[in-house]
């Protein structure tokens, strides 16, 4: 291999062999994510997007602010964004926690009791595809400018994806497994704890990957309908857009995107650890 690499053999076959062995060498020297084949595509993509952005911003300044303006807005008052981001994050996570507890309890009831399942699931499926953020203005009217409408909207839109996934997951146990534990008369609680709940974990994580970013959407939309009286990045966006501060709007949006992506990354990392046994994580070749 090394001889092939050093002696510049002229044949095409030798060339490919040499480059292949060079690639293997690189693979051994660097951890996976440091390999150019890993990071180069996304870096190129980001650069292309940034250039396009600048072109659009120069041609249509009323549509997009230049990127340097966004940077300046952030640098001039970082604490403002940090405080508002923290408030939005809190609303999102508390709303999500409420949704998680309620939907878990209901999912167990639905998966254990057929009558409840037949009553609840059709409604849940319809509500899951209903854009529930649309009730945000009505909730603001009902509950005022406090945190309540934000928590309710967030909890509502996170509730149904978790409920539906968990219910399917709790019922995903193969028949032979259920039969086996029935022949030793395992109680329903034992079956739930030892068999059904772990079987539902992959489904739960699929739901969490949807609802963590979604919780931020819920909180922001609710904030937008109650501007002025409360804080949060949603409020910041609606204030800034009514004052024509395009840079502030987009700075806030960038931060929201970053928050959503970070939450998703955290969920994915936790999933990788918890579901190491699951087939989707068994072969990490790519």
């Amino acid at each position: 291999m090394t001889t092939l690499e050093s002696s510049a053999a002229p044949s095409a076959a030798a060339m490919t062999a040499a480059s292949a062995s060079a690639r293997e060498g690189a693979a051994r020297r660097f951890p996976k994510f440091l390999r150019p084949s890993r990071w180069a595509p996304i870096v190129v993509m980001v650069v292309v997007l940034a250039v396009l952005w600048q072109l659009v911003a120069e041609a249509m300044p009323y549509l997009l602010p230049p990127l340097d303006a966004v940077g300046k807005a952030l640098a001039s008052n970082p604490l403002y964004y940090l405080e508002n981001a923290w408030i939005t994050l809190q609303e999102a996570l508390i709303g999500l926690a409420i949704a998680f507890v309620c939907s878990s309890v209901l999912a167990v009831a639905v998966s254990e009791v057929p009558v409840i399942r037949r009553a609840v699931m059709p409604v849940a499926v319809v509500l899951n595809v209903t854009p529930l953020v649309a009730i945000a203005p009505a909730l603001v009217v009902a509950f005022g400018f406090g945190p309540e409408p934000k928590l309710i909207v967030t909890a509502l839109i996170c509730f149904f994806p978790i409920l539906i996934n968990l219910t399917v997951g709790l019922r995903s146990v193969p028949t032979p497994v259920l039969q086996l534990y029935r022949t030793v008369h395992a109680s329903r609680a034992e079956l739930l704890w030892h068999v059904r709940a772990p079987s539902a974990l992959p489904y739960l994580f699929a739901a969490l990957k949807i609802v963590f970013p979604l919780s931020i959407v819920g909180a922001v939309v609710a904030e937008m309908f109650a501007p002025g009286a409360a804080d949060g990045l949603g409020t910041a966006i609606s204030l800034a857009s009514s004052n024509n501060q395009l840079a502030v709007v987009y700075t806030s949006i960038f931060i929201l995107a970053l928050m959503g992506a970070s939450l998703l990354a955290i969920v994915t990392a936790v999933e990788r650890r918890v579901l190491h046994w699951h087939e989707t994580h068994r072969s990490e070749s790519e």
Binding site: P174, P176, Q179, L180, V184, H185, E190, P198, W277, R282
Partner: protein, 275 residues
Amino acid sequence: MAANTAIRIAEARKVYGSGSSAMVALHDVDLEIPTGRFVSIIGPSGCGKSTLLRLIADLETPDAGSVEVLGGSAADACDGKHVGFVPQSPALLPWLNVLHNVTLPHKVNRGASRKRRAGAADARPMPDMEQLLRAVGLDDAMHKLPSELSGGMQQRVAIVRAMGLQPDVLLMDEPFSALDEFTREALQEQLLDLWDDTTATVVFVTHSVSEAVRLSDQVVVMAPRPGRIIDVIDVDLPRPRRWDRFTSDAFHHYENLIRECLQSAWHSPDLPSAA
């Protein structure tokens, strides 16, 4: 009388569906299995072998007739953890390693385990599961996940899981049907070795005539439409049964007997399914 009859099935009948789509899975099935016997059930697909096994395992209740296990109801036998079950697929939990998979049945329905160990009549210490796993050659696999095992190894885990309960009745539904011939023969031998150390009554569903003769004291032959027992053949071959015996004339005699029986069932006119 119950002392030496482990399983007694009388005029058991099972119908799936109703009206015109009714399917008679079992039609007036009578079967008595003495304690400690190894009994195979053989028959073409759809003749109700699994259904019969599910009746004994209390996974279904008969529409008519009775099923008695260990002198009581099937439910009582299961409640006391006297019944071991090996399904056709290994049914291992993918998030538990092999050792945890085989010990989980001990952790559920603990009342039954305690009662059994306290009861004077059949007081036995809980078996050493690690030793049992070693006995079937799973030393290295003990802490592996099921997905890291071959199909044959997974099926061995399933057998150890059932054996670990020290069941009085062991029910097996085509446990080896998905395995290649070599693995199958190795596992048959291991199963017989494990069984030799117990007093368990085994009911073993199979599609293979030679497997039935090789393993069993008794072969129950079933026929479909409606599912029924057409013959019970005693296999009078000495134990332990080593592979060199399987070329003997006596072995072939029993194989032919069962094949003839299955053939005649296939060609006999269907019984009227309405009774």
